[in-house]
Amino acid sequence: MLWSDFERLGRFLEPWRDFERMHRVLSGRASALSIEFPALNVWVSGDNAVVTTELPGVDPNTIDISVVGKSLTIRGAREPEVLKEGESYHRRERWSGQFTKTIELPFTIDTTKVEAKFIKGVLHINLPRAEADKPRKIAVKSA
């Protein structure tokens, strides 16, 4: 093969690499568009719900969790680093400020039994279903 053939092949592979990169970026962000901060994951069983959210660096004492009926609201804040004279940011990507997130759960919660844990920057909230909300078994009598 001629040297010029190699060159042409090299240039052909480049747009493919760009395509791969775009594909990776887009597939990672497929569901990105309208999620409010902070992102939550919710796990549900017949009689319990678990909500997890990542809040690194937030003081757990300042996190406000309130539950009303089926609605869970999480509020909190993270202070930005205060720079002194002569200090400067090379990069600033981390979020700061206040946040509020409300989510609707599939059933009414027993607010007296809600528990929350803050482990390694992840908030775990355990929300048991309210007794009155649990489905009651109805016996079918045969005539």
């Binding site: 992102a39 939550l40 919710v42 997890t52 930005p80 981390r94």
Partner: protein, 135 residues
Amino acid sequence: MPDATKEVQKKEADAPEKGELTRASRVYAPSVDIIERKDDIIVTADMPGVDEKSVDIMLEKNVLTIYGKVEAVIPEKHNLYISEYGIGDYQRAFTLTDEVDREKIQASVKNGVLRVVLPKAEAIKTKKITVKAEA
């Protein structure tokens, strides 16, 4: 800028050139703040789910790589109802300049935030040459 919009989606880490991990885990690039102070440079990275035992900091030639391993805590007998974020490890690499005193690098993790202190090398700190104007 940080107050206006909070980045919600986690960014996938760039595919490592050295090869994939043996663990089939997602890898994200953590958000990072880098502050230059008088005597050191501070790198702060958000790595929720990571503590001091599961973080790995490696310095190879000029490249500082931070890696945080995350154990996903999945509640038993529950089904995923809403999923707004993925769970996985964190990785990011930085090229350091000669400014950094490699022997004195320190790191700590608190509430899922990794803080790496990179002290500036002595030689760089004390060299301050005053320039006189030539009349």
